[in-house]
Amino acid sequence: MNKAVLYMSMSVDGFIAGPHDGPGNGLGDGGHRLHEWFLKDADSDHKEVVGHLDGVNREIMDEVMSTGAVVVGRRTFEVAGGWDGDHHDGVPIFVLSRHQPDEAFRWPGVTYVNDVADAVHRAKDAAGDKDVLVHGAVTGQKALAAGVLDELQLHLVPVLLGQGRRLFDDMPPDHVELELLRAQDGPGVQHLRYRVRSEA
């Protein structure tokens, strides 16, 4: 059975973007620091630049790029310019949104879905035997709350941002028990993979 895996780069103090994030400043002030581990030039397109990676960082990025579908929040999708409708290899993209999209954000491989469980289930079906890449803080939180997130792959960057947008925020006070499946120390980043212990 394939899995829904949240992939996010996070600072040690829990931020996935700096302050003042928004259109044109997708990672917020200074937030590009979080992507330096895989981008030589953090402003450039992720598809063009993973070739320079090696070792653990390359393995992890290869995993990301071998997922068979993407579930992403509308905000993350739009600040990324919708990846021009193609995150990687043309795999289907399911965008979590309560509203119908603007014309500028419609592409053939992109489906708008208003329920996170529905989005993950459809993405799993579409991905066949491959895993589903879940991306975005709000989407990750919703997927956790709905019980449809299987694993978290965090790229823990050794920096404190101080301010910004957190990966885990405004969650219900219910404990979510995890199991550390794998910890890998790459250059400038640690890759931590956790399984959500739904039985706990």
Binding site: V12, D13, G14, G18, P19, D29, G30, R33, L144, L154, P158, V159, L160, L161, G162, Q163, G164, R166, L167, F168, M171, P172, P173, D174, H175, V176, E177, L178, E179, L180, A183, D185, Q190, L192, Y194, R197, A200
Partner: protein, 195 residues
């Protein structure tokens, strides 16, 4: 010179206590979940090693909230080492045991380093950690990261200025074999890079 090192247990989502923490409930609602790993503090292995290191420190810095919530450690955190309590509001009653009150963060750091001699200084509590970080006086962080999301509570790192502080991972220790998943923990030691 003595290293000033934060020792704190935190959930993966960055909380050091659950919601509604108080003197009567120092870990807040459900926050004692974070301390399950301490069941193994005397065992051989990473958790035993890290705990022993923390107990070998030669001075303690803590904030007022942590100090009061811990019942002032009855004046002795471990081995009677000097305890420096960073507080804006010095209590009227004399400090118990080896406790001293300090109102200035730089003064607090200097006194603790001097007291620790060739040992290290343990910092405990979110408030003291943030104050020392802001003052550029925190040298290292030893985070015991517990594989749980608490969802709400008191954060370790909160309300810091929007200034990037670069860290270097010095060490990662994980318990390779833990039968009880709730006792699992990952110990991450970071050094604060000076600009």
């Amino acid at each position: 010179m003595a290293t000033i090192r934060l020792y704190m247990t935190t959930s993966l989502d960055g909380y050091v206590a659950g919601p509604h923490d108080s003197v009567d409930a120092p870990m807040g609602d459900g926050g004692f979940r974070l301390f399950n790993w301490l069941d193994r503090r005397d065992d051989p292995g990473p958790s035993g090693q890290v705990y022993a290191e923390s107990m070998a420190t030669r001075a303690v810095i803590a904030g007022r909230r942590t100090y009061e919530h811990a019942g002032r450690w009855k004046g002795d955190h471990h081995d009677g080492v000097p305890i420096f309590i960073l507080t804006h509001d010095v209590p009227d009653d004399p400090p118990p045991g080896s406790v001293r009150y300090v109102t200035d963060v730089h003064e607090c750091a200097a006194q603790a380093r001097a007291a620790a001699g060739d040992g290290d200084v343990m910092v405990h509590g979110a408030g003291a950690a943030q104050a020392l970080l802001r003052a550029g006086q925190l040298d290292e962080l030893e985070l015991h990261v517990v594989p749980v999301l608490l969802g709400q509570g008191r954060r370790l790192l909160d309300d810091l200025p929007a200034e990037q502080v670069e860290l270097d991972l010095v060490r990662r220790l994980t318990d390779p074999e833990v039968d009880e998943p709730a006792q699992h923990v990952m110990h991450l030691r970071y050094r604060v890079r000076r600009p």
